[in-house]
């Protein structure tokens, strides 16, 4: 079952990477990052069956950091939306990118 979960984890991570590369909405981008974090969490939990409980502890830390990241990131998106009147990343080109 560990191999199966690593497979599911890899597929979910690939989907998340594809979403980050393809989507242009800033919020969709953040949700794709969350999907990637979840995929990595699945790997951690699966491997914690082999290597002890540390993997589950790391997953709890990852969730905490993800919550902090979501709060700050969404605040930045709100602030950028007020300034640019858009959540499309193509419209946000303050540095001329």
């Amino acid at each position: 079952m560990i191999g199966a979960s690593l497979f599911v984890s890899a597929v979910l991570f690939a989907i998340g990477v594809g979403g980050v590369l393809v989507r242009r909405n800033a919020i969709m981008l953040f949700m794709c990052v969350e999907l990637m974090l979840n995929a990595v969490n699945l790997s951690f939990v699966a491997l914690s069956r082999l290597h002890g409980v540390t993997g589950q502890v790391v997953v709890i830390f990852v969730m905490t950091v993800a919550a902090a990241e979501a709060a700050v990131g969404l605040a930045i998106i709100i602030s950028a939306f007020r300034h640019f009147k858009s959540a499309d990343l193509a419209d946000i080109r303050l540095l001329g990118g």
């Binding site: 079952m1 589950q56 709890i60 979501a70 998106i77 709100i78 080109r93």
Partner: protein, 187 residues
């Protein structure tokens, strides 16, 4: 063909894994951010089921509470605050087909709940309830001894995130805008 416990577990694993992958694909391909967020919640619920199957029920519970319950609600709040899911793919509940599907799902859930509540406790799957403390205790022991410093640093991180989020998302009134706050260049 006999159904061993491990075989049933593996079958459940693949069912939930397939639902998770399908939900993730639907999540990436949706146009409306609200629909995408709801598919992502589905993926996270399936991942919680996978955690339980991988003998980490505490992580599964935390996954449902923190990810599906808290983080995704914040995402949905922001999507609705910015009014992004406006013009495309809004779910119209007045269509009879949608109403019928909603009624069917609701009835199915109600029947399932009644059956589950009427089932005697012996007939349900033997959860490790007798050794319930053993599920959380190893995680807690590792968290509060080996990783105590990281745990405490996490609290500082959360405080910084709260302050940062409030400072970033605050709407500045013209009265409070002093000379200490530089104006960004107009784009």
């Amino acid at each position: 063909m006999t159904w061993t416990a491990a075989g049933v577990q593996l079958a459940h694993f693949w069912i939930f894994g397939a639902i998770a992958i399908a939900s993730a694909l639907l999540f990436v391909t949706r146009r409306s951010p609200v629909a995408a967020a709801l598919w992502l919640v589905n993926t996270m619920f399936c991942l919680a089921a996978l955690y339980v199957l991988l003998e980490a029920p505490f992580v599964g519970a935390v996954q449902v509470l923190v990810y599906a319950g808290a983080i995704m609600v914040v995402f949905l709040f922001v999507v609705m605050l910015l009014n992004l899911g406006r013009d495309d793919a809004r779910l119209d509940l007045r269509e009879p087909g949608v109403r019928g599907a909603a009624l069917l799902v609701g009835l199915l859930l109600a029947v399932e709940l009644v059956v589950a509540s009427r089932t005697p406790a012996e007939a349900t799957a033997p959860l490790p309830a007798a050794e319930g403390t053993n599920v959380v205790a190893p995680v807690a022991r590792a968290l509060f001894t080996e990783h105590l410093v990281a745990f405490e640093v996490t609290s500082v991180l959360l405080l910084a995130a709260i302050v940062g989020a409030v400072a970033l998302a605050r709407r500045e009134s013209p009265a409070s805008r002093g000379p200490a706050v530089p104006e960004g260049p107009a784009a």
